[in-house]
Amino acid sequence: MKKQKKIKKFNIKRKTINFFIILYEIIKKDIKLLIRSKTSALVILFGPLLIIFLVGLAFNTSSLYNLKVSTYSDSYSELTESIITILSDQQYTVKKAFTQEECIDGIGLGQHHVCIIFPAEMTIDNAEDNIVKFYVDESRTNLAHLISNTISSKIAQKSSEVSLSLTQSLVNTLESTKQEIEEKKTLLDSLEATSSSSRDSVENIKTRFTELDLTIDKSDLNISEAKKEINRLISKYNYSESIFDDLKSKLKEVEDGVQGLEDKFLAVEEVKLASDSDLNSLKTELTAMIGNINSLKASFEQIKANVDSIKVTNVESIVSPIKTTIESVTAKKTHLSFLFPTLVVLVLMFISILLSSTLVIREKISPAYFRNFITPVSDFVFMFGTYLTNVILVMFQIFILLIAFLYFFKGDVFVILLNSSLILLVSASVFILFGMFIGYLFKTEETSTLGAIAVGSLMLFFSNTILPVETLPGIFRYVSLYNPFVIAEQMLKKVMLFNVNLSALSTSFYILIGFIVVFFVLGLIARELTKRYFE
């Protein structure tokens, strides 16, 4: 009993080893066969490289080449001309149409890709709103978008140039005003100084005036005393009065002179009084003027402070204070880097489906099919072997693609590479099993290839690559959400472009794994149903 168990165990072990040996032999044989057919070996080795190279050439720039532009305006202004110059400085061929109709109709006739209608005499001033009209062929959606984007950006460039120069002059004026104020402020200062000193002088004059004593005390002169003394002398000494007549008249003259002086002094006093009030008013005026000068100075100061407080004087940052260049999430340089995940999944999808369906159908129509059929190896092993062969071949190609990836995305790529490889492996499995299923369904290589291409194209169509999914009618949009191509593409985008963690993508993984299971079962069923050629 024990011995039997042991034997059983041993047998199971041998069976699993055998399973792997057989798998290994199947894969070895498949790859040998493929390599011996030189064309398929070439396709497998260089197919993805070639595709990447070609697509790279095609998309490796964000602008369009050889774009034919037609313009029309009732009258071209200097501004429109300069826009046209900018456009023709680029890779665009610009032609002026004679009429608006010619310009617009030319798109339909394929004479040019885009028609731009400028308003007549377009200038930059406040009154006008300058509307530049674009006409593009909407049926070529991608082209239309690309064209309007590129040309809008070119015109936006011009319009921002214009506002740039406008703002520049504004800023310049401000700057010169500031300088002017700076300069004239010293003038004000000196004016204030002179005014103050003038006021001081006025003050001095006024004090000096007030200090001026013009009062005359006539009593000090005592002319009457002198007269009395003369009279006393006359009476005492009985001098003849005539002797003193001369003196008396002289005294009289003095007296008169004093009187006249007094009168004059009185007049001066009056003048003094009048001058004093004048000086007073002069002083107040001067004070007021100084006040004015000060307030002028203050407002100059304020102006200067205000001008100074405009921190941004770089004109470009005034014109577009927030710059919107689309970058920084990835270190991408070209359109291609953005497109790369889509491209990888696209190549992956077509190669996987085509390769696996071809491998299956070749095996099926190979004369050796019969001998494999009668050997004691189960369908499952053969199918698994074919699947593994495909995985190996596709992974080899992905390896090549990822080397290309390394070229485009420099930096911390290792984790991205690891994560992307996992995504690629899982999605490759979906496509491979899908392709195998197709291979089992068809009877000839031609039909299966057609089937594979049709399926690939369908998946491509119901994805964002040709039309935005959002533009599809409801049911298709819903279906396209479960399109393995879309799922794989979005996963890869998230990982490659935005460095999203794999754990965030688990739902997508589950969906893909679901697909793997479904297609494997479908494949087994199809293989079972079709292996007997003729029922």
Binding site: N18, I21, I22, E25, K29, K32, L33, R36, S37, S366, P367, A368, Y369, F370, R371, N372, F373, I374, T375, P376, V377, R532, Y533, F534, E535
Partner: protein, 309 residues
């Protein structure tokens, strides 16, 4: 002697084309069973149905008493099958093909190498062992396929027209090989051919397949005996209204009549009487004799008479 394979009431049609119409026969242990039939008579179809590569529309095949579908894995291990067109990879060399299929039978590496050497000598392909199968001649391809069929030391070896396309020497050698395998390894062998004389020499049992039916079955001697009591009258006349002639003919002494486009063959134990009768009828119906021959049939002629139109 026990029964290895038993066909019961096998019917197979491809669309409207009825290929096998109620086939019944059995193969005994250690038989060399010859299945003889013209091209398109359904020999390959029978073999394909036997190994499960095609499905019969009706009927049952049993292997040692068990339904053959239920013992499929077992059969796969002990059957060897040399196909008519060669079933191997055209882009692998002779040696690589043998190695690959050896592995599919889970044979160990050194055993495969040993076996490969033996088999290549056996089918005389040693010199071509490293040639890509694509570049082999038709005869070489056939020999490679036989080698493939022998890889797993089969208990039952199926050979679909193994001598077709071979030169006479090789033909003899292959026939000798079949015989030897049968004797040395007690292998049951089912072999098809459209050449009866070849089969005569090696088979111990022969079935003649025609129009979807087994016309005759038995040992070569059996078959000969069955027809040797008869004489064969070949008759060709002008204008040749054979139907009317036969209508007037007295059927009492006639075993079997084969009508062809321009002649009739009559099998009879009493040729004299039939001839007498015939000449009268011919004279009456104003038929002119172009060709008349009376002889004893060989097995080949039995076969031809059974199968030619």
């Amino acid at each position: 002697m026990s029964e290895v394979i038993n066909f019961q009431n096998i019917v197979k049609h491809f669309g409207k084309n009825l290929v096998l119409n109620k086939i019944d026969f059995s193969v005994q242990d250690k038989d060399i069973f010859g299945l003889i039939g013209l091209s398109g008579s359904g020999k390959t179809t029978i073999l394909n149905i036997m190994v499960g590569f095609m499905k019969a529309n009706k009927g049952k095949i049993s292997f040692r008493g068990k339904d053959i579908k239920k013992v499929k894995r077992e059969i796969e291990k002990i059957f060897g099958f040399a196909t008519q067109t060669g079933s191997f990879y055209n882009r692998l060399t002779v040696r690589e093909n043998l190695f690959y299929f050896g592995k599919m039978y889970s044979i160990k590496k050194h055993e495969i190498l040993q076996k490969t050497k033996e088999l290549l000598e056996l089918v005389e392909l040693s010199d071509a062992s490293n040639v890509i199968a694509n570049q082999l001649s038709i005869g070489m391809r056939r020999r490679l396929d036989i080698a493939c069929a022998l890889l797993n030391d089969p208990e039952v070896l199926v050979l679909d027209e193994p001598t077709e396309d071979l030169d006479p020497t090789l033909r003899k050698e292959i026939l000798a090989l079949i015989k030897r395998i049968n004797i040395e390894k007690s292998t049951t062998i089912i072999v098809t051919s459209h050449l009866l004389n070849e089969m005569e020499t090696i088979c111990n049992k022969i079935a003649i397949l025609h129009h979807g039916k087994i016309m005759e079955i038995g040992t070569p001697d059996n078959l000969k005996e069955r027809y040797s009591t008869n004489e064969e009258i070949h008759l060709k006349t002008i204008p040749g209204y054979y139907k009317e002639i036969l209508n007037k003919l007295d059927k009492k002494n006639i075993n079997h009549i084969v009508t062809k486009k321009d002649k009739i063959i009559i099998y009879t134990p009493n040729a004299e009487k039939v001839l007498y009768d015939l000449t009268r009828i011919l004279r009456d119906s104003k038929e002119k004799i172009v060709y008349l021959d009376v002889n004893k049939p060989s097995l080949e002629e039995v076969f031809e008479s059974l199968t030619r139109k």
